[in-house]
Symmetry: C2
Subunit: 216 residues, 2 copies
Amino acid sequence: MDNKIYFDTETIDRLEKQQRVHLINSLGGFKSVALVGTSDTHGKTNLGIFSSFFHIGANPPLIGMIFRPSPPERDTMRNIVDTRFYTINHINESIYKQAHQTSARYDKDISEFDVTGLKTEYKNNFFAPFVAESTIQLGIEFREKIDISLNNTILIIGEIIQIYIPEDCLHKDGFVDLEKANTITCSGLDSYHKTVQLDRLSYAKPDKEITSLLQN
Amino acid sequence: MDNKIYFDTETIDRLEKQQRVHLINSLGGFKSVALVGTSDTHGKTNLGIFSSFFHIGANPPLIGMIFRPSPPERDTMRNIVDTRFYTINHINESIYKQAHQTSARYDKDISEFDVTGLKTEYKNNFFAPFVAESTIQLGIEFREKIDISLNNTILIIGEIIQIYIPEDCLHKDGFVDLEKANTITCSGLDSYHKTVQLDRLSYAKPDKEITSLLQN
């Protein structure tokens, strides 16, 4: 088809460090991006942007994320392991610049809530702070930590124990209209995107034509 | 803010099974979605759609994905473990219906390439088949299998050893313009979306205003 550039292991290795980081971070496709809210054992809040979330299973409802051993991710992970509770807060078009700013390396005693102006929200006895401006909010309980020795990263698995969704974004069949909730997606390290739905497709079966689930 | 529905563990548990599956699959946000191409040890091809990819690290370039123990995911995983090579092929607007169709439970001796009409492409001595119609293609070598005992799923980690990107989608700093490559994203089990870039933002630092990296 079109003219493609080809990289193999050798040409990947020869890339300048930041080029390689941008390239490899882009290749997985569009990513889930959200703000993770935690508190330390003294109640000091922390907020960080992450783009490594993935669905692990619906029963129990499990969500995974990857942590690097360096700051600022390290502080979020320590709070999760120490206190067992964290929030995942979807990012919408109104707050994505503030969300991006949380990736700066602030001192441990500075709360990213304070510097970005995003507001903490506490509800239903959940220990960790939600982001008040976030449209879809999840309360997560820590379940398991798995070390990935290949590159010294860590997989944290949590169970979704609280869910907050705008009423008009939840369909009868359980589907959540993320686009209506203004949830955005990201690519690479720094690119943010809103979405335009192409279709919802029927459950695929052999020898059966796929149909649209949307009513026109 | 708006009227939100609240679910806790009890109300999640009371959901009908398919409702719960749709709901929980939606909550992580927009997802990477791509076609995984494999062959078995006899060279019989297999193609499956997955939406559980995540970046693990840039050096070495590692990508992870989650497998359920049931078909059709089981066939893809067996091929990966047996032959050590697989391809990840981005999905664009022209092929997303065919891509969705690969999620049907075909007999093991039927190739999803044949039933969907998507074409195999072999190049640079890579063992597994690429999808010819895919704009961004990755050749992956299997590195590690980690069992997640919490819910009987499996994390497969691979190293990106071949990359094919359209020339005009690769920026000088290594960033890949997925939107220009027509790569799409998905949400929930069956909703597909194209994207509209909001911005690329500068590297965040404390006490420094974020700026746009886009030239207007």
